[in-house]
Amino acid sequence: MKLIYEKSQAGRRASVIPRPDGLQAPEVPEDLRRSEAPRLPEVTELELVRHFTELSTRNYGIDTGFYPLGSCTMKYNPRVNERLVALPGFAQLHPHQDEDGAQGALELEWRLQEILAEVTGLDAVSLQPAAGSQGELTGLLLVRAYFADRGEGDQRRKVVIPDTAHGTNPASVTMAGYELTDVKTDARGNIDVDDLRAKVDEHTAALMLTNPSTLGLFDENIEEIQQIFHEAGALMYYDGANLNAVCGISRPGDMGFDIVHINLHKTFSQPHGGGGPGGGPIAVRDILEPYLPVPAVVRNDDGTFGLDYERPKSIGKVRGFTGPFGVFVRSYAYIRMYGPRLREMSEVAVLNANYVLARLKDAYDLPFDRLCMHEFVLSARNLKRDHGATATDVAKRLMDYGFHPPTVYFPLVVPEALMVEPTETEMKETLDAFCDAMLAIAGEAKDDVALLKDAPHDRPVRRLDEVRAAKNPVVKYGFEPSAVAAES
C-alpha cells in the first residue's frame, strides 16, 4: 500500500490552528529561521483515518488472535485500563505540578510500589526505569554504587550471566561498565553449578538470572546458587521477564535475589503497543534502598504523599520525572482486579503452557524433558534434519493458520528454537486449535515441505527480503518515485 507521503497533495490539511486576533509573531533571527519546510504529509482528516485504519488491518495484535510469543507474555489487555488512563486527572496532569496538586497520582505510585514490594518479596521500589532493559541497567548501577560505597568498587568488576540469558543482560553489563562472565547450562536446563562455582569469587559483583529461565524452567538449584553468591559477597539480580510464572508462588526476594526488575508490559498487562511503551520498575533489598533513583515517591507522616529528592547516595536519574506514569495506571488497575488471586493467574499460565507442551512434544524435539513453567522451548531440528523445514518455516506456516508465531531462534542454546508462551488468558479451545495447527504443520513438513517454504500465503505481504534491506538500507521515504512499486 502507499505511504502517507505518496498520498500527500499540496493544499490539503487536516488541522486548523488557533491564530489569536491581532497578534503578530515576532521575527525569528534570520540565521535561526527555518529555511525549508519539512515535507510532512498534506492530507485531509478522512484520508488520515483511512490510511492508519488500513495500516492497522495489516497488523496482528492480541485483540486479533492468539499470540504465543515466548518471553513476551502477550496476555489480554483489559479495555477498562485504557479508559482509566485517559481520565483528565491522569492524562492532563503536568509532571511538574506541585505535590499537593498531584496527590492522587502520587498515591497511585506509592500503592503500586507497595504492591510490587510484596509481589517480589523485597523492601523498596523505584518505578522510574522506562523498560525492562533500563531496569537492568539501573540495577547494575545500584550494584556499582553499593560496592563503591563499601570500597570494593575496583575489586568487583565481573557480572555472571547464564548462556540462556536475554541479549539485554550482556548489553546492560557493558553499558554499566562491567565485564561479562558466561556460565553454562547443564543437561537439565539449570545453571551448571560446577561451572558457576569455578567462576564466582571476590571479583564477582553480581549474578543476573531469569528464573524461570528463558527455557521456561525453574532452576532447581536456586538455593545453592544463592549460597554461592552470597558467600562470595556478591549480589543477585533477578530479570523479571518471567515473573508471570511465579506470582504468589515463589518470590525473587525469597529466592535470595537482592534486585529485581519487573516488566509491567509483560506480567501486569500494559499493552505492548507494537514495541512499547513498557515499564521496568526495580525492587531492592533494604541495603540498596539508599542508592535508588531520585525522586523517591514517599508517604509523609501526615498521610500525604510526596517526592523525596534528598537521597545523597542516589545514583541519580535514569529517566524524566517519576517514570512512565500511564503504564503505572494500567498495571495498578490490572493488579487491583486480581489482588491475592495473582497466584491463580500464574497457576493458569503454567497449566496452559504445560498443556500445549504435552500435546506438541511428540511432534517436535523437546531439548529438556521436564514440566515447564509459563513457557517452553521446542526445537524444529527434527523437521530440519528429516525434511529441511526450519523453525522459520514453521513460524511462517503458522500465519496461514491464523496464529502469530512463537519466538524463534531464542534462546541461542537450542537450535531451531520455538519458544511458546500461551499466557493464562487463552481458552482451551484456542490452545487446542493452535496445537492442531502445529501438529498439522509437522505433518506438512513431511508430506509437502513447499507449503512451509512458501508460507505465508495469505498475509498482506509474502516473505520479505531481509538481506536486501540490510545491504542497502532505505530507512526513510525518498520523496521521488520509488524504485519499488507499491502494490495496489
Binding site: 531462534y409 531481509e466 538481506v467 540490510a470 545491504k471
Partner: protein, 131 residues
C-alpha cells in the same frame, strides 16, 4: 549462489575459521567456507584502516549477515597493506568465492615465524570434524 564447500591445500588455517595465503613477507587473509556458510549471506564487512596493525589471534574486523555478526580473527600479525574494497561494496562476494575474490585483507607480516603455528588443511578439517 554460494560456493560449494572446499578448503584449498595451499592455504594455512586458524581454528577460528580464518585462512592465510602466505606470499613472501606478505599474506592475504580471509574467512573459510565453513564460516561464510554458518553466517549466511554477508551484508557488511567492517574493515580496519590501511596502515592499522593486526595481531595474531585478535579480532581485526567484523562480518555480518542479517541474523549474525562475527569477529574476524587474524591468523597472523602485521600491518594492513590493502583492504578488499570489492567485499566492502559487495560483501556477498565472500559467500560466492571465499578463497578468491572474497579475500579480506593483505598484510605485511611482522613476525613470519607465526606461520609455522598455523594449521594445514588436514588439521583444519579435523577441527571441523570435531564441531
Amino acid at each position: 549462489m554460494a560456493a560449494a564447500e572446499s578448503y584449498p591445500d595451499d592455504l594455512r588455517y586458524h581454528e577460528e575459521h580464518d585462512w592465510a595465503r602466505v606470499e613472501g613477507d606478505e599474506a592475504v587473509l580471509g574467512i573459510t567456507w565453513f564460516a561464510a556458510d554458518a553466517l549466511g549471506e554477508l551484508v557488511h564487512f567492517e574493515a580496519p584502516a590501511v596502515g592499522a596493525t593486526v595481531t595474531k589471534d585478535a579480532a581485526y574486523g567484523e562480518v555480518e549477515s542479517v541474523k549474525a555478526v562475527s569477529d574476524v580473527v587474524s591468523p597472523l600479525s602485521g600491518e594492513v597493506l590493502e583492504v578488499n574494497e570489492t567485499v566492502v561494496d559487495a560483501p556477498e562476494t565472500v559467500n560466492l568465492d571465499p578463497y578468491g575474490a572474497g579475500w579480506l585483507l593483505r598484510i605485511r607480516l611482522s613476525n613470519p615465524s607465526e606461520v609455522d603455528a598455523l594449521l594445514d588443511v588436514e588439521a583444519y578439517r579435523q577441527v571441523l570434524a570435531s564441531l
